[in-house]
Symmetry: C2
Subunit: 439 residues, 2 copies
């Protein structure tokens, strides 16, 4: 069993958290490759070490004295080292960092030290080999991540390393200068390592017991998702659910490696499994609900539209010509609706409208704004009759005005358009009917 385990910042914010992490790793022989983040907040008033590093380096860049700030950062690490009773010092590292800050080694270098130093402590604490990501995570000359070269180097290095700590978030360009990932951070490093060692599982340890069925800002303590496919995850992420960034899924998806989202503070919880495909039914008919506000729609009608070859295409062309991506195109008889993001559309609306008139000659055209789109996602929907009925009955009961419905033949999701002001109400109603009522 070969497991890659990534720990988020809150799992590594203090010596106490490090001990939890240590216990987790030692409880399973398979947890051989560890990817730490930088120390996060210890409490809600605290600062993340990465943010402290950015602030400290900003002073350095301006030629100001940054030593006090750097000492504060060192204190954070020393507190962890002392708390863990390690016979170990980062004094040499901090001397080098001070030197490089003076020489303006760059923001990416500065930020990357959070993971780098935490990795050093972690390796010491666990007795694992420390592998500097700068030597195995490769960016090209333009600063683009080089997936294949990285995979080659990482595989080669780790095949000779039984147990290793590889700090997340950064790598190096061909000239050796440090480069960080722009989005997804340490999650990506973990995924890259999992791919390179052909891990059986990629465990992503955070401070929640997996992904929630719905947004906890809307639903009070939502249930978590037990198992979700990559496709479902993509769909929820696309509709605004805060789950793993796409870039951090891609490397393991390629190898069919499952991801397990776990909670460092509740290691007994099974968390959420993210898999390529599964025969396991989800506990509820739906897997998740997500949504976004801020859409516009353009309603177009024309007599005999459906028999006019090319009509829909001409309308869509008008949006494409103005570089506006289209969200959904539900259609009736002689009517069609185009949903677009308000931000993309508003500044160009009149240009698009006049092109539609010119190309497609509609009888009527009307624009509406302040709409939200909600996606109800679930592989279980296809085999459960009555899903649509339950959704729309629940929405009616909650007095939500359904402005649009789109369900294609994949039957893996239903998209529902509502007014912005009904958005939260609609999500609550759908959650209740599938999750609360089911119990």
């Amino acid at each position: 069993m070969k497991k890659v385990v990534k720990f988020g910042g809150s799992s590594l914010a203090s010596a106490q958290q490090f001990e939890k992490v240590g216990n987790i790793i030692r409880s399973d022989e398979g947890r051989r490759y560890v990817i730490p983040s930088a120390p996060g907040k210890r409490n809600s008033g605290d600062r993340k070490v990465t943010d402290m590093l950015y602030a400290c380096y900003a002073l350095a860049e301006e030629g100001k004295d940054f030593r006090v700030k750097l000492a504060e950062i060192k204190a954070r690490y020393d507190e962890i080292i002392t708390g863990l009773s390690l016979d170990f010092s980062l004094a040499e590292d901090f001397k080098e960092i001070e030197e490089k800050f003076k020489n303006k080694a760059g923001k990416d270098y500065a930020a990357s030290r959070g993971e780098y130093l935490n990795g050093k402590i972690m390796a010491q604490y666990l007795g694992y080999t420390f592998v500097d990501s700068a030597s195995v995570v490769c960016f090209d000359k333009k600063g683009e991540f080089d997936a294949e070269k990285t995979n080659e180097k990482m595989s080669a290095k780790l095949s000779k390393t039984e147990r290793a700590v590889i700090p997340g978030f950064f790598g190096a360009m061909p000239d050796g200068s440090i480069k960080t990932f722009s989005r997804g951070g340490s999650d990506i490093t973990g995924s890259i390592v999992a791919r390179a060692v052909k891990a059986d599982v990629y465990e992503n340890w955070t401070d929640v017991s997996g992904f929630m069925i719905a947004d906890p800002r809307i639903i009070n303590k939502p249930q978590s998702i037990e198992i979700i496919t990559y496709t479902e995850l993509r769909e929820l992420a696309y509709m605004g659910a805060s789950v793993l960034h796409e870039d951090s899924i891609f490397p393991v998806r390629k190898e069919g490696i499952p991801i397990n989202i776990r909670n460092t503070n509740k290691p007994e919880d099974e968390g959420t499994w993210i898999v390529e495909s599964t025969a396991r039914k989800s506990k509820y008919t739906i897997t998740g609900i997500a949504g976004k506000k801020g859409f516009c729609c353009v309603n177009i009608s024309k007599d005999m539209m459906n028999s006019e070859i090319g009509f829909v295409r001409k309308v869509l062309q008008s949006f494409e010509d103005h570089d506006i991506s289209i969200e959904h195109v539900p259609s009736g008889i002689d009517t069609m609706t185009v949903f677009v993001h308000e931000d993309d559309f508003i500044s160009k609306e009149q240009a698009v409208v006049s092109e539609i008139h010119r190309l497609a000659k509609p009888d009527m055209l009307e624009i509406e704004s302040d709409l939200g789109l909600i996606a109800v996602v679930g592989r279980g929907m296809k085999s459960t009759r009555g899903t649509a009925g339950r959704i729309f009955s629940a929405l009616a009961h909650a007095n939500v005005n359904v402005r649009m419905i789109d369900q294609g033949s994949s039957e893996l999701n239903i998209i529902i358009g509502v007014e912005n002001r009904d958005f939260e109400k609609a999500i609550s109603a759908i959650y209740d009917i599938f999750v609360e009522t089911q119990l």
Copy 2:
């Protein structure tokens, strides 16, 4: 009050039916312009006079003796004349018809005599002026109906005629030769007359008390529709409901004249009103249900499709390039479905598929057939919460597998995709929940 009244063939099949029509016309002073069809079937084993005329003329065209057949037709009219105790003969007319048949005056001429002769009897019976449609309904040299010239001539003629009978179904080309409407027949003539005289209402008398909410071949004795808008009618007609032909609605729609579908055999029934717009709610939430079988769908998926500008357009382009008109394009996240008519698509499917691959590079493409589309139409749906919930709960209850849902922002109709074998079951379930349960 100026009413234009059109009577269908079954309303004029016998002297007894003529008497009903006479009573209807005489009961309302406003019924000043009458458009008769040719005599229809008197019973289920009978033949329509128009069909008899076609058969008779076919003999004439082949140079065979058609006099026996023509005598049979004359007998049909004589039976009506005798039954109505009219002092009137069509002998001269039949002499002329025989002459023209010999000279091969054309199929259109032959067919038109059914209405022409019935019009003459009707005028005699009512004491109204007979106006030959050949003098007021104009086709151009190419045989296309000339709406504006007709309107001019018809208005001029009828403004000087207090009460008139104008036979339906035909007119004349500039050289005087008779030309019939290809589709819609006498319904069109009625509509043209209503427009020309700026009628208050166009009454279309048939043998049913208006349009039915659903197809009577699927629903046993469906309720009839009390009031329907032009738009709703178009939608139902498009989805296969047998209602008035589009061409017969266009002239009155232009003038905002309401159409009233009535039953000659039950003149006390109010029938169906077809109007431009109305504040009158329909009795049920829905106005009508219609549907068609024989659709295919092409399911396409591609990661990140929604953020790829032009993706949907490229897919639709592939259909357009092969002259295939698209019925519906429901979409999910990273998936889209294109519904097309099986007849249009099957012979070209591989060409379309390869063009989609070339232009849009989907991850997955899959074709399904044997699908039906059902439209639930109703202006009342927008203001009635829970319509969608009721539809999909009813379908679930009836074990119908819903393959597609499309509802745009117009909210005037919902399109539902089902498998062909669930088609009738689905329509019954929707009819029951809105019409039967409502009572």
